[in-house]
Amino acid sequence: MTTLYKLTEQVRSILAGGDPDQGDPIDMQEAKAVVVQILNSLLKTEHFQVNLGSGEMTPNGLVLASYDGVAVSSYKNVAKCTLPAIPVHLPLNMGVFHISKTDDIHNPFIPIQNGLTPMLAAEPLISDLLGQVGYEVFGKDVVFNRDITADSPAITSVFIRLVVVDPANYSDYDIVPIPPEMEIEVIKQAVGLLAGQKDPDKLDDVITDNQKRTA
């Protein structure tokens, strides 16, 4: 079990060869951003190597971030909403793992592969998806197959689960839901990425450092 702050601190300690001082060139926020990026990269790698390798298609539940009350708006003759974060890219858009009504999370909407809605409309038996709501993902937009804001009752917000580690969801002291065996790999890769930083100036001058950063 670890937190983002703890992981970042470990990375900085290794790079500094001990406790990092005030003049340490590796900024806490910069290191944390790198740690999050490595985490998402490892999640995708794990899915392909561990899950798919054993024949399992479903992403690990640890890596699912939940977002409730995502607003839905009317869009042309259908409806759409905006993804709160960009998920890991997986086959069949599995990065967008689940979308449903906020009060009925056990009945997910049906994901449709991009561009297949017109083909679906030509199928006499299943053109309306048997009455269910379907959606396609285009970039950061989720477009539904009908205007769900005009349904009765209207659906004006949805519950979304994404395959992503979103730093906005975790404070410095929240436990990050990553497998323990992944922690050391995150630290190794972060250290490897950040090890090539320039040597700091001999003089410990905070004002000059800040001027350099803003220049």
């Binding site: 399992e56 069949l92 049906i110 297949l116 006499p124 038996l125 048997l130 269910q132």
Partner: protein, 253 residues
Amino acid sequence: MKYITLDGIVRSLLNQKQLPIHYYMRFLKYAADGYRELHFDSLKNIRAVKLPLTDYKAVQLPCDFVDLLKVGVATGQYVQPFVMRNGINRLNNLDASGNPTTYGSPTQSTSDYAAFGGWDWFTNHFNDYGEATGRYFGLGVGSQRDTFKLIPERNEIQFSEDIQATEVILEYIGDGTCCDSATSIHPYAQKAIEAYADWMYKKHSKSFGLGDEQVAEREFVNQNRKLRARLNGMTMEDIRRSVDSGYLASVKI
């Protein structure tokens, strides 16, 4: 009667294969195709409708019509079937306004053969007491009025213009794509539809080889065979009745 739904079949299949909901759309398409295919031979979605005849003695085929089983007129609780006659003209006769109309009885100048529309009333077939005496020598039964022809290019069934009925009963095989088909699937068909969807999934996926596809196809053939066996309602009594119908009472000497 208990039915299952197409949605239930697809979710059952996803559950078996431990696939997430992202595969639902794909398997729904395969299952719908399998359901349609099974309708033509095994499930045989038989539908019956009563259709009015047009002025020119034809009926419009229903939108989900695939193949004809029987067409006839209601006779009490039974349906007296009509017989196919290939000689009926496939073309409509049009009036001056371009609307279809009947051909009417052919005259000597417009036909090579006189039409046998029926038989005439001759008084020498009845005695003074009004009893029929027979003597209809040469009368044949090959020329009947109760005939029809299926004309797909017109989307119609054309009947003989001599029939007096105003409505006919049509029994036909539908394609199973009417509005309630997806929620009214015979439970016997579930395994066959699942096997078909699995076969199509393996056929169209690069993750499976030819051998996997062929095994899946054989499984579908097997399940279809079981489906037909389950739906075959023949009993021992049916066989005995069929054999017994060949025995008739005769004069005992």
